[in-house]
Amino acid sequence: MNEKAFEVFVSLTLLLAGLLTLAFRKRRNPFIGFRVGYTYHSKRVWERVNTFAGVFSIVYSLLLLVLALYGVSMNAFILVMMAFVGAELFVGLWMARREYELEELSEEAPEKPPAIETEKQSISIKPYILIQLGFLAFYLLLVALLWDRLPESVATHFTASGEPDSYSSRFWGVIGVPVLAWLLPLVLTIPAREPGFFARANFYPRSLRAWCLFTTVLSGGIVLVVTLALLHNAGLVSGNAITYGAYLFLGVLIFAVYRLLTVGKDERV
């Protein structure tokens, strides 16, 4: 698939996602829509946030389609797409939280917190954030130390047998892409500060700590793989090391997903 075909495919997929989100804006469900605790627990919040997300997705996917047909580079296309998806997530979450809290003020609840459940249900995400920042600091330190040994064009993607099949400029390949990938689990960790982010449903994480452990393992895995790619580009390890690293990462990730799905609400993680 060439670049233009790929960009058109991504734009049309996002357009379909936007249309489906809009179509299901009045029907809460576990599969389609902006699904976080705030939207899942409130009909009003679900409808408002999914109306916004649906319309916003349709508008930016059409814009992406125009960019794809115009023939912009893959890097520019991905940057614009990530900016739109990020903005949608940010505004959607902000809106969901605000609407949920507004609804809280008009929905009758026990005046005082029930005695049996007065324990504060928020957790501190600081240790998990610090560990993830530590991963990034370690990686950036290695980048600084190896910068002069890196070629102008670095390998950014590898086949299953460890052969490079995609290249990029040095800055984008060893800093831009890895930092953007590292941001994903970090952004997913932050909502754990708010217990209202997670729905009280069986298919959602039951333990916020298990969720933070999962995102931190994800962060560690991403940093492991990009570190191996960095070492490979500096000529210090073979392509096979990246393959083994990726398998190790997948193994640990599967374990973290298993813990995420099986750990009890009050169980220590």
Partner: protein, 119 residues
């Protein structure tokens, strides 16, 4: 009966007067009641004022957010019947600020009484 301009001015002054007053009332209520749900705050204010001083949900949301920003109240989530509900309580700083505000309120009360005596 006020004319259009008078109504507009009254609405503006009432809004100004109430915006500060609501913050004081919320702090006082939490000081007396301990932990309360947001809906209960509105309900209690309605009961205490005979339905005349009930902030809208939007106004109370902004008031609580502002009190939280200044660390005068803190909120916490509790799961009730499978749904996260948000409760509020006064902080130590909130208690101190409330005491200082009470002095202000007494001064306002005394001034108003003296003004009435002048009439």
């Amino acid at each position: 009966m006020l004319d259009g301009g008078g109504e507009k001015a009254l609405r503006k002054l009432r809004k100004d007067l109430r915006s500060g007053l609501y913050s004081y009332l919320v702090l006082s209520l939490l000081s007396e009641e301990g932990e309360l749900h947001g809906y209960a705050i509105r309900k209690r204010l309605g009961e205490l004022s005979g339905g005349k001083l009930v902030p809208s949900e939007g106004a109370l949301y902004d008031i609580l957010k502002s009190l939280k920003k200044y660390k005068l109240v803190e909120d916490f989530w509790v799961e009730v019947n499978g749904r996260p509900r948000k409760y509020y309580r006064l902080t130590d700083l909130g208690r101190e600020v409330l005491l200082a505000l009470r002095d202000e309120i007494r001064t306002i009360e005394r001034t108003l009484m003296r003004l009435e005596e002048l009439e």
